[in-house]
C-alpha cells in the first residue's frame, strides 16, 4: 500500500484523467497495425517458401490435338532432365476448364476454343533455376513455348507487402511518438499545477528523482490501464476481421491467421506503451526541474 502513496495529488489533475483513454486509443490503433504487419509478414514468408518454387510452362496450341500431344511430350522430356526441376506435370484439360470458368462462364470454354497446354513445374527446394535459360532451351526445341516465372510476379507482390509493412512500422512509431508527446504535455501541466508542493518538497530536501518517481509511477499506471483497455477493444476487432477474412479469401490468399506468438506480441503492446509513458514522464520532470531553482 505504501508504494502507491503519492506526495502529490496527481490523480485529481484534469489533464491526466483523459490520458488512459488516449493511450487506450493509441494501443487500439497500434494493435491493428501490428496485427496487420504480422499477418503480411507471415504471408510473405509463406509465398517466399511456398509458391516461389514453381513455374508454369505454356505451350501454344498447334493445328491438331495429336501435334499438341507431341509438343507436350517433348517439352516434358526437356523439363524432367533440366537441373533443379523436381517434378513436371501437365495440367489436364478438365482442370483447365475449371480454372477458366470464372472468366468465361459455365460452358464458355468449349473444345472449339484453342487453348494452350499448361505444364506445372515444381522446383527442388532452394534450387536456383535460371528461368530465362530454360525458356530459351524450350523455345529452341518446341517453338511457341513460354515460361511463366511466378518469381517475378511474387517478387513484386512481396515488395508491395514490404512497403505496406514499412508503412505499418511508421504508423507504430508515430503512435509511440504521439503517446510520448501526450505524456510530456500532461507531465508539464502536472508540474505547473503542483509547483507549490514541489517547491516545498525541494525545500525539504527532495531530489529531482524523488519528484520524478511520483510522476513516472503514475504515468506507468495510466499507461498500463489505458493499454489494457485498448487491447480489450482490439481483440474482438481482430477476431472479427479474421473471421471475415477466412470467409472471403476462399483460396485467393494463403491461409494465414494470428498464431500464439503474434498474440503474445500484441499482449506486449500495453507494456511497451506503459514503459514509454513512464520513461517520458521521468525525463520530462528531470528536464523541467533542472530549470527551476
Amino acid at each position: 500500500m505504501w508504494a502507491r502513496r503519492s506526495d502529490l495529488p496527481l490523480d485529481h489533475d484534469a489533464p491526466g484523467r483523459f490520458l488512459p483513454w488516449l493511450i487506450a486509443f493509441m494501443v487500439y490503433l497500434a494493435a491493428l497495425a501490428l496485427a496487420g504487419m504480422l499477418l503480411l509478414d507471415a504471408m510473405a514468408a509463406r509465398w517466399d517458401t511456398g509458391m516461389g518454387d514453381t513455374l508454369t510452362v505454356q505451350i501454344a496450341p498447334a493445328d491438331s490435338p495429336e501435334k499438341d500431344a507431341l509438343r507436350v511430350r517433348a517439352t516434358l522430356g526437356i523439363l524432367r532432365s533440366f537441373p533443379g526441376v523436381a517434378r513436371a506435370q501437365p495440367i489436364d484439360e478438365g482442370r483447365l476448364m475449371d480454372l477458366l470458368e470464372p472468366w468465361l462462364g459455365p460452358g464458355g470454354a468449349t473444345k472449339d476454343l484453342p487453348l494452350p497446354r499448361l505444364i506445372d513445374v515444381e522446383l527442388k527446394p532452394g534450387a536456383q533455376v535460371d528461368a530465362a535459360a530454360l525458356a530459351k532451351r524450350l523455345a529452341a526445341a518446341v517453338p511457341g513455348t513460354a515460361v511463366d516465372d511466378h518469381g517475378v510476379w511474387l517478387e513484386r507482390l512481396i515488395r508491395l507487402i514490404r512497403t505496406v509493412e514499412a508503412l505499418a512500422t511508421a504508423v507504430l512509431l508515430l503512435i509511440g511518438l504521439a503517446t510520448a508527446g501526450t505524456v510530456v504535455f500532461t507531465t508539464r501541466t502536472g508540474l505547473s499545477i503542483h509547483r507549490e508542493a514541489i517547491e516545498v518538497l525541494h525545500l525539504i530536501g527532495a531530489q529531482d528523482t524523488y519528484v520524478a518517481r511520483q510522476f513516472a509511477g503514475r504515468a506507468l499506471a495510466m499507461g498500463l490501464r489505458g493499454g489494457v483497455i485498448g487491447l480489450v477493444f482490439a481483440v474482438p476487432t481482430l477476431l472479427g476481421i479474421g473471421y471475415l477474412a477466412t470467409r472471403m479469401q476462399a483460396g485467393l490468399l494463403p491461409d494465414v491467421s494470428l498464431g500464439p506468438q503474434h498474440w503474445a506480441a500484441l499482449a506486449g503492446l500495453p507494456l511497451v506503451v506503459a514503459a514509454i509513458a513512464m520513461v517520458t514522464a521521468r525525463l520530462t520532470v528531470m528536464r523541467t526541474l533542472a530549470r527551476m531553482l
Binding site: D7, E196, L201, H202, I204, A206, Q207, Y210
Partner: protein, 258 residues
C-alpha cells in the same frame, strides 16, 4: 574572537536582495551564526525577516554578497548538492506550506521519506512528535480542517522531525496561545541542546524577552547583529532593554493614534 571561518553554520557577507526591479529589501547584511547558537530575529512587519530566512533556507538567491552554509559557498554550490544541504535545515514557514491532500502524519513524515528512512521508524517518530505537540488525535486529519494553531504545530513538527542541524522558524508561534507558545519554544530549546542552531523570526518582543537568547534586529533592510562578542557570550540584557522600550513606545504611539 569572531565567528569566522568554515565552522560557522551560517555566514552572510554584504548580502543584498531585491525582488525583481524593486528596491533593496535587504541591504549589506553581514553576520555569522556559530554552531549550537540560538537567535531571535526581530523587526517590524515588512522589515525583511522572512526574506532573510528565505535566503538562509535557499529559496532565494542573493542579488549581491556572499552566503555560506555549513562551510559551503552557495555561489559555487551546484544544484545537485542542494538537497543534501537542505536536509540539514528544518524550516517552519510563515504560511506553513503544508501539503493539503496529505494527512498531518504524512506531512510530518515528508522529510524522513525524502531522506529514505524506513517506514516503521517513520511511524514511531512521527506519532511520538505529533503527540508531543498535542495533536495525538489529529494524526490522520488533513490540514485543511485543522485550526491555524494546529496547522502551525504540524508545520513545526515537520521542521524538527529529522533533527536538522539548522532550524529556521518564521513567526512559529503567531497562531497559538501563550502557553502553547512557551511549550513550542521549549521544544526548540530542547533541539538546541542537542546541537541544532536555531533562528526564530518574530515580531513578538515579549516572547523573545522572556527567553534570554541573543537577537538579530532588522530595521528597514539593515541588520543590527550586535557585536560578535555579545553574540558569542549571549549578553542580551541591553538588547532586551532596547526591545522592551521600543515595544512600549510602539504601544504608546498606537494608543495615541486611536
Amino acid at each position: 574572537m569572531t565567528t569566522e571561518g568554515s565552522d560557522c553554520v551560517v555566514r552572510f557577507e554584504s548580502v543584498g536582495l531585491r525582488y525583481g526591479l524593486g528596491p533593496e529589501v535587504l541591504q549589506d547584511i553581514s553576520f555569522a551564526l556559530a554552531p549550537g547558537s540560538f537567535h531571535f530575529l526581530l523587526g517590524a512587519s515588512g522589515a525583511g525577516k522572512s526574506t532573510l530566512l528565505k535566503l538562509m533556507y535557499l529559496a532565494l538567491k542573493p542579488t549581491r554578497g556572499l552566503i555560506s552554509l555549513f562551510g559551503h559557498n552557495m555561489a559555487t554550490t551546484s544544484r545537485r548538492q542542494l538537497p543534501a544541504l537542505r536536509r540539514r535545515i528544518g524550516v517552519v514557514f510563515q504560511d506553513f506550506r503544508l501539503l493539503h491532500h496529505l494527512s498531518a502524519f504524512d506531512n510530518v513524515a515528508l522529510p524522513l521519506r525524502v531522506a529514505r528512512v524506513r517506514e516503521n521508524e517513520i511511524r514511531k517518530h512521527v506519532v511520538e512528535l505529533l503527540t508531543w505537540v498535542g495533536l495525538k488525535d489529529h494524526v490522520n486529519i488533513r490540514p485543511t480542517i485543522l485550526s491555524g494553531g494546529q496547522q502551525q504545530r504540524v508545520a513545526i513538527a515537520r521542521a524538527v522531525i529529522a533533527r536538522p542541524k539548522l532550524l529556521l522558524a518564521d513567526e512559529p508561534t503567531g497562531n497559538v496561545d501563550d502557553r502553547m507558545a512557551m511549550r513550542l519554544m521549549h521544544l526548540f530549546e530542547e533541539l538546541n541542546k542537542l546541537g541544532t542552531t536555531i533562528v526564530i523570526a518574530t515580531h513578538n518582543e515579549t516572547l523573545a524577552g522572556r527567553l534570554g537568547h541573543p537577537r538579530l534586529r532588522l530595521d528597514a533592510g539593515w541588520l543590527d547583529a550586535g557585536t560578535p562578542d555579545q553574540q558569542a557570550a549571549g549578553k542580551t540584557a541591553a538588547g532586551a532593554f532596547a526591545a522592551a522600550t521600543s515595544k512600549s513606545r510602539a504601544e504608546q504611539s498606537s494608543e495615541s493614534a486611536v
